[in-house]
């Protein structure tokens, strides 16, 4: 039964990683850049939701929507101001700019909201219960966990539909394959890239709210470690692939929780990254990534 408890919390943590990893993977797929500022967009989303609900007493649903709106706008603005001028620049220059944006968001948040930790409220209560107990209280499933897993499944299905069926989604796939050819076919490449950033950042807001509901301390650096883990998850599953982000995120979450439970709390990060290295040695392009063969 404890095993099942750990498995469920692993899947729940993994779902959060998966939602964050989606943002990384989509942006990487289309703009071929590692968006290091993504983790900090999560933090901004969590703060917006926190203030909307805890300070201004808005209903939680409205708080989440507001956070999504703010993050989407933030994503578009960041892309327009910092990344778009560097479209032709070497990838390292873009990487450093992304790091600059990440510092900017973290330090901006510290100035605006101070570095004292905020305790994130738990929205997910039914009749003052935070979860359900099954099998005489041996199996605890909190509502946060249920909502997280459900959100992850819904987002995944919606994105699969979006990239597969809609015109915008097809444009995205075309751009990620060949930007020049896509432009020749009349696709607005800049708008498509902006759209990708918007979706990724909107998802980051959801991830931020879910993350802080499960682990309720909110500080300006909240997003950075989950950001790195989710980035790892995206690579784990094969960066650029949407199902890969889901698989990588879930596996990473489950491995992390199991390592914490059965090996050592302090060494859990080492175990997670160790597994990543072994996987990449066996499958150098990640679990679901495509091996691109070099042509001479």
């Amino acid at each position: 039964m404890t095993f099942l408890n750990f498995l469920i919390s692993g899947i729940s943590l993994g779902s959060i990683y998966a939602i964050i990893a989606l943002g990384y993977t989509m942006v990487y797929g289309i703009a071929k850049m590692l968006n290091f500022a993504h983790g900090d967009v999560i933090m901004v989303g969590a703060y917006v939701c926190f203030f909307a609900v805890a300070r201004y007493d808005l209903p939680p649903a409205l708080g989440v929507l507001l956070a999504m709106f703010v993050c989407t706008m933030l994503g578009i603005v960041i892309e327009r101001l910092a990344y778009k001028p560097l479209r032709q620049a070497p990838s390292l220059a873009v990487l450093i700019t992304a790091i600059g944006v990440s510092y900017l968001l973290q330090n901006g948040a510290q100035l605006l909201w101070t570095s004292s930790p905020k305790v994130f409220p738990n929205f997910f209560k039914v009749a003052d219960q935070t979860g359900v107990k099954l099998f005489d209280g041996q199996l605890n499933i909190s509502y946060v966990t249920m909502v997280t897993i459900a959100a992850c499944v819904i987002i995944m299905l919606a994105l699969t539909w979006f990239t597969g069926k809609t015109k915008m989604g097809k444009a995205m796939r075309a751009c990620s394959e060949d930007k020049g050819a896509a432009q020749l076919m009349g696709i607005n490449v800049n708008a498509t890239i902006s759209m990708t950033f918007a979706i990724g950042s909107g998802l980051a807001a959801i991830a931020g709210v879910l993350l802080c509901s499960a682990y309720p301390t909110l500080v300006p650096t909240t997003g950075s470690m989950p950001g790195i883990k989710a980035f790892t998850a995206a690579v784990f599953g094969g960066i650029g692939s949407i199902p890969g982000a889901l698989l990588g995120g879930l596996l990473l979450g489950v491995i992390e929780i199991f390592a914490k439970a059965y090996i050592s709390t302090q060494l859990s990060d080492a175990v997670v990254f160790g597994v990543l290295i072994i996987v990449l040695l066996v499958k150098p392009a990640g679990l679901l990534g495509k091996q691109v063969r070099e042509k001479v």
Partner: protein
């Protein structure tokens, strides 16, 4: 006439001029700093930063070897710094009663740090160098995090029986008179500050000599050939793994020495000091200074270490300003229009020279 000679310089002569120019600049700055220190006209905050600046310069130059010359993005360079810091300080503390000379103990610390970091670089290099591009980057990131969590859980003590080690909790069971050196998450405390500015300067010089000689050797040309086109390099018979490993291990060893120098400038050092952010900080030095440009790395490392201190008057805003400066510099240096203007200027100048 002289100008004509100047124009007919071969590429090799140009690079060797560049090396001597770099050595000259470093020596000049060192002498200037020594002059300022002896005349007492240097602020204490700048004086305190001299050794960290030396360590960061060595870090930046060694990372430039990996990123600029070898052409592989490494996001875990602070991991090697950490290995060097912890092993070097352990050696220096363990030998405290045996070796009385501070300078000799510092030297032993630096060498031990470099050797262990080189060994770590070799172990990490085996899997890392099989991968490419962003996958390689993420694996170096992973190794950096693994090294951090290992040192966060490592306990090392010394007593009259020698060194004792344990993981996760303190099981060293030291005998009477023994001393715990590395205390897990507490890191190393009570370090004697034996690093000196002169030692830092010498380490910078050694690093430059090693890197320039490597880059301008047969091995260095092979490494750059692999960076530019791996398949072409392989097809002319270069042993890709060997040369990649040479660059990677050299870079790791230098980072280890820098770590030892850095650690012995503080009284306590913890593993969390050498995290992902430190790796990124050093990567920023390298990219801002220019890939493959060692003098650029030196200037960037110095300027960006002083900048946050110089921005003290902005107090809370200083890191914000730092971030904005970083973004703006990247935007301006990569602006296609500005580049065009620069290029026009350059061709114009060259034409002018030819007309003379």
């Amino acid at each position: 006439m002289a100008r004509k000679l100047n124009r007919n310089l071969t590429a090799a002569q140009k690079t060797s001029y560049m090396c001597f120019f770099t050595y000259g600049v470093v020596i000049l700055i060192y002498l200037m700093m020594q002059g300022l220190i002896s005349s007492g006209s240097i602020t204490s905050s700048l004086k305190g930063m001299l050794i960290p600046i030396c360590a960061y310069i060595v870090m930046a130059v060694s990372l430039n070897l990996t990123v600029g010359i070898l052409g592989e993005l490494s996001l875990g360079h602070a991991g090697f710094m950490s290995v060097g810091a912890f092993t070097g300080v352990t050696a220096a503390v363990a030998l405290q009663d045996v070796v009385s000379s501070n300078a000799l103990r510092l030297l032993i610390g630096l060498v031990v740090g470099a050797i262990f970091a080189a060994f770590a670089g070799f172990l990490i290099g085996i899997p890392v160098l099989r991968l490419k591009g962003d996958y390689l980057a993420i694996v170096t990131l992973a190794f950096g995090e693994i090294i951090k969590s290992i040192f966060n859980n490592l306990y090392v003590g010394v007593d009259d029986k020698g060194l004792h080690m344990s993981m996760l909790s303190d099981k060293t069971q030291l005998r009477e008179g023994g001393k715990l050196i590395i205390g897990g998450p507490m890191g190393i405390g009570g370090i004697q500050k034996i690093s000196t500015f002169t030692a830092g300067f010498l380490l910078v010089m050694v690093t430059l000599v090693v890197v320039f000689n490597l880059v301008n050797s047969r091995a260095g040309r092979a490494i750059m050939a692999i960076r530019d086109n791996r398949i072409a390099a392989e097809s002319v018979g270069l042993n890709v793994t060997k040369y990649k490993m040479t660059a990677f291990v050299t870079s790791a060893a230098l980072a280890g020495a820098a770590g030892a120098l850095f650690a012995m400038n503080y009284s306590t050092i913890v593993a969390n000091k050498f995290d992902f952010n430190t790796s990124i900080l050093i990567l920023v030095f390298v990219v801002l200074g220019g890939l493959g440009n060692m003098l650029g790395s030196i200037v960037a490392a110095t300027a960006l270490t002083i900048l946050p201190e110089a921005l003290r008057q902005f107090a809370d805003y200083r890191m914000l300003v730092y971030a904005i400066v970083l973004i703006l510099v990247m935007l301006f240096t990569n602006n296609p229009k500005l580049k065009q203007v620069f290029n026009q200027f350059r061709t114009h100048n060259m034409r002018g020279k030819e007309a003379e």
